[in-house]
Amino acid sequence: MRTHRWLMLLMLVVAALALAACGDDDEDEGGSGGTTTEETASSGIQKDDANASTSITVGSKNFTEQKVLGEIYAQALAAAGYKVDTQLNLGDEKTALKAIEGGDIDAYPEYTGTALLSFFGAKADALPKDPQQAYEQAKEGFAEKNLTAFPPTPFTSSNEVAVTKETADKYGLTKISDLAKVDDKLTLYGSPECRQRLDCLLGLEQVYGLKFKKFTSVDIALRHEVLTKGQADVSIVFTTDPQIKREGEVLLEDDKGMFPPYNSTLVVRNDIAEKGGAELEDVVTKVNEGLTDEAMQELNARVDLDKKTPEQVAGEYLSETGLVQ
């Protein structure tokens, strides 16, 4: 049937791209900062054919960083020999949780702060400030849902309140609480789930007592567009967004400590985590090691600024760090 032929053709293309991403050296950016030759004859991630019996479906939420992380884990696990499938771009955090609890996916990268606030009902005034503490708390919460939260990444990608330089200068804004004196003049743009999140509009209203002139929900992909094109006075962005530096946006300081730490932890269903065992954990640990603040920002920039696909960029990360040859 035509449908099957197309499906096969599409799968072949995806497989080919995945292979290419894993194997290729990058042609642009000259530079040989690539692999160190001294250490290992082996690449970081070893393929173990025994893993082929374990199939893992990796999911992700619906913005660039998530898609890149999802691809990185998927490609790394595939390089280790696991049978990997992807279902990226699922939606917001609640959708992803529903998917993993329901078995549609087996793993996805979540943020410790998001988990605490959106899943485990942490109180805004009782949030852990220490990243490791935040991880431990999140790990406990996930364990109750039969999910294993693997050790977190070094980078933290926090929600943040951003304004343009002009707006910051005009109203003298450096901290979020500075907004209180002019909030009735400002429109806030955020993702659809922002209204309900304690680390978004709901938190701004409760913790800082802000009451904006208007809140408009807009697709998360447009969070910088609306700021630079002048539609929004204030927008909610992520600290690892490359557009912040590029557009000269000003991030307002979270003086009341509304935002918890947001390190990324790979959340995996218990049965898959057990089946994967120490090897699975090893792959994740190796991958996480290279994901510093700088690295994550760079990877995001390659997708958002250079307009590469998350798949390409994930492949570049794995090959540039030498994890996958």
Binding site: R2, E294, K307, T321
Partner: protein, 233 residues
């Protein structure tokens, strides 16, 4: 212990066409292959929808041509199918047919039924009475009259309907990604602020519509050599 190598970090925000979300011919040339599969998926959806839609409409029209009382009910039903917005249709079908090509195709087929049905009927109705009388006079049965006289003479109108159906189906197929059926719309949606992406994906859709329109017109000219090229349509 395995040591990770360093990722190549960029120094400062560099000036680049893509980072400005601009129209970048170089980027387009390098990344054109990401539009190839969506283009063919788009073509697939359009052609299948047109084919199935034509078969159904044709059957309906032939039957309704003889049993005139059917025309009104069929027009009403296909009219409603035509009016329901495709995005709404995708999600109305979702509980029954799920996500995927099938849902998209059902909605696309439903949309073209009215156009093609109406044009076939108009074409048949426009056959001059004298011609039909002449045919009957020559001893043709009703069935022979239909297939050898009326339908060939109705071809220009039928082809005109197909051309309209083709262009509108291409347009609607851009929304097929809502039903999980991919297509060029998915590419547009993937980065709606990037001018290059929007121009290429949108441009390919317009191109596809124009090419299909031209092809059908060409076929029309080829199989109806007795008609002079009429203006307008």
């Amino acid at each position: 212990m395995f040591q990770l190598a360093q990722l190549q970090i960029r120094k400062d925000p560099t000036e680049s066409c893509e980072a400005d979300n601009g129209f970048c011919p170089d980027w387009i040339a390098d990344n054109f292959d990401r539009y190839v599969d969506p283009f063919f998926q788009h073509l697939y959806l359009t052609v299948i929808a047109m084919a199935v839609g034509f078969v159904i409409s044709f059957a309906l029209a032939i039957v309704a041509y003889r049993r005139r009382w059917l025309i009104n009910p069929v027009t009403q039903v296909t009219g409603i199918l035509y009016t329901v917005p495709s995005v709404a249709a995708f999600f109305l079908l979702l509980p029954i047919t799920g996500r995927g090509n099938t849902t998209a195709l059902i909605a696309l087929v439903a949309y073209v039924l009215l156009i093609i049905f109406r044009n076939i009927l108009t074409g048949l109705d426009n056959v001059p009475e004298e011609t039909k009388d002449a045919g009957r006079g020559m001893g043709l049965t009703d069935r022979q009259l239909l297939w050898r006289v009326e339908l060939p003479l109705a071809l220009p109108e039928i082809m005109a309907g197909l051309r309209i159906a083709a262009t509108t189906t291409v347009g609607l197929a851009t929304l097929a990604f809502f039903a999980g059926a991919g297509g060029l719309g998915e590419q547009i949606f993937a980065d709606i602020t990037f001018k290059s992406n929007v121009i290429v994906a949108g441009g390919l859709a317009v191109l596809l519509a124009a090419v299909l329109d031209g092809l059908i017109l060409l076929v029309q000219r080829l199989i109806t050599p007795w008609t002079r090229a009429v203006a307008a349509r």
